[in-house]
Symmetry: C2
Subunit: 519 residues, 2 copies
């Protein structure tokens, strides 16, 4: 067998080959090597400066409408290569075809949403932020806030679980705001991101310097950040802490956005009885979040809060459904759940399950699995795992250890909204939690109780079951992020997301002059 293909980085407007030790990208179902990356010897400071000096001015010369058109070209280019990207996601990401669509179509959908936003903003380069403000009795003395693009570079560091969506959701917002991007995908699953850059550069969708890609390790990339740069990171809390601790990041007040760990909760209301539509909907959403992408979604339900008097029934229903999940090679149509992304990830899941199990009792899945369609002993597979804790048990790990795999815990509670909120709050900040109930008063109490701990709260109801993708799906028009353990970040949310990449400035002075600037 020949050596696998070496993937280049796209920096300073050209493809560049790294040097040094190779890292190998594999198919996590078969462990077959797919490609290699080397990230030594690249001029990262130069790449950042190229983005700032070439990409930034090109983007800032465009109106928001023109940047929207650029995002539309990117959308179209990816759409034209969708099948190819899906195949790569299946091969390199352990994704079933459905998982791959979730990633790739999510990327296309998010780019398209920001393309539309740009189109709607049209021929402006300066965004008005709010209305004009009279500052004195003299109506000439006037204030107006505006948003202008930051003049630095946006560094994006993405997680392994969404190589397509992670790249696109961050890049769409930064590019529409007018900031050039250097994107670093996680190495293990980077084939998809790499192909995306090939497709986009072949299509000449963006001006030179607007979007770069760094394959492999980040090296000293963040050591070169200056006062007008930003970093957006998705991944573990530990890495988030490292990024926030980098001296030039702190000294230069570099804006940092972190999406990190989250013990997302789903709360079943006391009004919902087994067999009701809402019950089935709840079970379906929990199942989807446990198995989709083998549970490797930062928004996946990790804690299932159920009124104590129906915890047994819910457990039995979940166990029954989990028993029917076929685990194996995601290329096969009958496989519902593929492997986790890497050997390290599998080890981490196993250690996490062992820790959670000490807080409760394993009710489904030992972790060990006979995966279908793969050579014996190959692949990073686990069963889904459900752990049940006793009502009232402190179970500290359940509220603090995010096991990034197909793993959830069942936590019985009293059925009171305040008790549910208290349990959810033990997670010390998360991305999204959800409440499934047809009782509007209970729903409102839970929502207001848990809102301070989250960036998003999902209100599950049979009435929206058909229209909704569930709490695990991030929509471009709603913010994504959360306080505390979740990293304190905020992305997307339609135009809100642009704020991170722009400088808000209060203009203060003569009204006619200001109105000429803002229009």
């Amino acid at each position: 067998m020949s050596a696998p293909r070496l993937l280049k980085s796209y920096l300073s407007g050209r493809w560049a080959e790294g040097t040094g030790r190779a890292q190998t990208l594999v198919n996590p179902a078969t462990e077959e090597p797919l490609a290699e990356v080397k990230s030594g010897g690249l001029d990262l400071a130069g790449a950042l400066e190229h983005a700032r000096k070439v990409g930034g001015p090109a983007l800032r010369a465009m109106t928001l409408g023109e940047r929207g058109a650029m995002l539309r070209r990117m959308t179209d280019a990816l759409q034209a290569h969708r099948n190819e990207l899906l195949d790569l996601a299946v091969a390199n990401g352990g994704n079933t075809r459905g998982d791959a669509k979730f990633d790739v179509d999510g990327a296309i959908f998010t780019l398209a949403a920001y393309a539309d936003l740009g189109k709607g903003l049209g021929e402006v380069k300066v965004l008005a932020d709010g209305e004009g403000i009279p500052l004195a009795r003299n109506p000439r003395f006037h204030g107006q806030h505006i948003l202008v693009p930051r003049t630095g570079v946006a560094v994006h560091i993405n997680a392994f679980n969404f190589p397509a969506w992670g790249l696109a959701e961050k890049a769409a917002v930064a590019l529409l705001a007018g900031m050039p991007v250097v994107s670093k995908p996680a190495t293990s699953s980077a084939l998809v991101a790499h192909r995306i850059l090939e497709v986009l550069t072949e299509a000449q969708a963006m001006p030179e310097g607007a979007l770069s890609l760094l394959m492999g390790g980040a090296g000293d990339l963040l050591e070169h950040l200056g006062p007008f740069d930003v970093v957006a990171f998705t991944g573990s809390s530990d890495t988030g802490v490292s990024i926030r601790s980098i001296s030039p990041v702190i000294k230069n007040s570099v804006r940092v956005n972190v999406e990190a760990d989250s013990l997302n909760a789903a709360i079943l209301g006391p009004d919902v009885a087994a067999g009701q539509e809402t019950w089935d909907y709840f079970v379906k959403d929990v199942l989807r979040d446990m198995t989709q992408k083998a549970g490797q979604k930062c928004t996946a339900i990790r804690r299932v809060l159920v009124p104590s008097d129906r915890a047994d029934r819910l457990r039995d229903d979940l166990v029954e459904r989990l028993s029917a999940v076929t685990v194996g090679n995601p290329e096969l149509d009958n496989v519902r759940m593929g492997p986790v992304a890497t050997a390290g990830q599998l080890e981490d899941v196993r250690a996490g399950v062992a820790q959670l199990a000490r807080d409760g009792r394993l009710v489904f899945g030992s972790g060990d699995v006979k995966a279908v369609g793969v050579p014996a002993g190959k692949g990073f597979f686990t069963t889904p795992v459900l752990i049940e804790v006793e009502a009232g048990a402190p179970a500290p790990s359940v509220h603090s250890r995010e096991v990034f795999g197909p793993v959830a815990t069942l936590v019985p509670y009293s059925g009171r909204a305040d008790d549910a909120a208290e349990l959810v709050g033990r997670g010390r900040g998360g991305l999204v939690s959800s409440v499934y109930s047809e009782d509007a008063a209970f729903t409102a109490d839970v929502v207001l109780g848990i809102a301070p701990f989250h960036g998003r709260v999902f209100l599950g109801s049979a009435k929206i079951a058909e229209a909704s993708p569930g709490p695990g799906t991030v929509l471009p028009m709603l913010v994504h992020g959360g306080p505390g353990r979740a990293g304190g970040g905020e992305e997307l949310g339609g135009l809100r997301g642009l704020g991170f990449y722009m400088q808000r400035v209060a203009l203060e002075g003569s009204r006619p002059v200001i109105e000429k600037i803002v229009r």
Copy 2:
């Protein structure tokens, strides 16, 4: 002479005396001791927890309208003690009566502005953020962003130059948002802040736990911060870096707002000739910023950009006016400028002047001064200082060293907007810069050129001269803060300021239920 009065802290709902080594507060004009503080032995973790557990729930139980009424009670209480506060500011802050009014009236004005905002919001506890968002063809599936108070405590660390305004502008926003505050004034000038807390607690203006005051050092205060707490700091970049580096702050994703150094620039347009109204207005604003509070304003003009062909004339005009400034005991009516705040501050100013002078030439003020109305050799006085650099000289210190005193540099430039913007940008991020011109096109070019480096841009024109307080004044309805060197923070800006103390949450679900929650 008896020992000066020991000032207590107000923590956990009562006045508490510290232990350990005393720090002495003096009159910076006479060096007469005024009071002492000791900050050892205080239970700071307990004080934070009291704010979270007692103050937070009390504030969150109030509507925004009720919190506005609370701010109105605070406004009224301070107004009733205004003269007393002005006297303290003169005695402990080196303030002239005008300087003292700038601080104390600024505090009252800002509290009143947020009281009005609260009143306008009325009987709501949840703020809607933007409009509702249709999420699918099914109109029932709906999104709405809301803002809810964070459930932690807001720690405010203020600078020595504005003991009244600094406390009030931060507290007004946090309290209206629904977060309890622990405020730490700078020790040297803390008499005013201390008296404010006495006045407010005597008036029972706030519920228990809503507003605490820590006198003296911060000790281990910030080591106890958790995921739903925030810190807002105003002061030096170095201290800002220290705060951002504290491990629990990083690990818990504590929100940090920093207002730090800034080399604010004022640019004179090439259309403005000596003797014109705009010229005189410009000279007046530069003079005010150099001498008001002895130049100790974070927003004061530090760099004066003037077209080369009229630099001599501007220098001569400024020197003539500076010669007429009487420096001395600020209690005297004929004194225009008092001392700087401390001996350390004076030393810092002198070192800074020496550094700047190496980049150019001292054209006014040796620093040494015969201050009127004080015992010989007493007080922390300096003359105003003007330094002129040569056109085109690199003068790196002029763009990087903020001398926090009555010191400005004159920087000739070509008269082109892009050259002005380039020079301003060398400051690597600031709070506010200004352009004085009657040429709308030049003004617009400068504004857009320098906007990315600032939180505020002031457009000086003779047409608003009478209505405007100049670039050095922070208005509550406009944001205050700036990127890079200025710390990357943002305060005030009307309702915008509340965002820092609130969690933005996307609600996603059934439209009627969401609308019932938000109203």
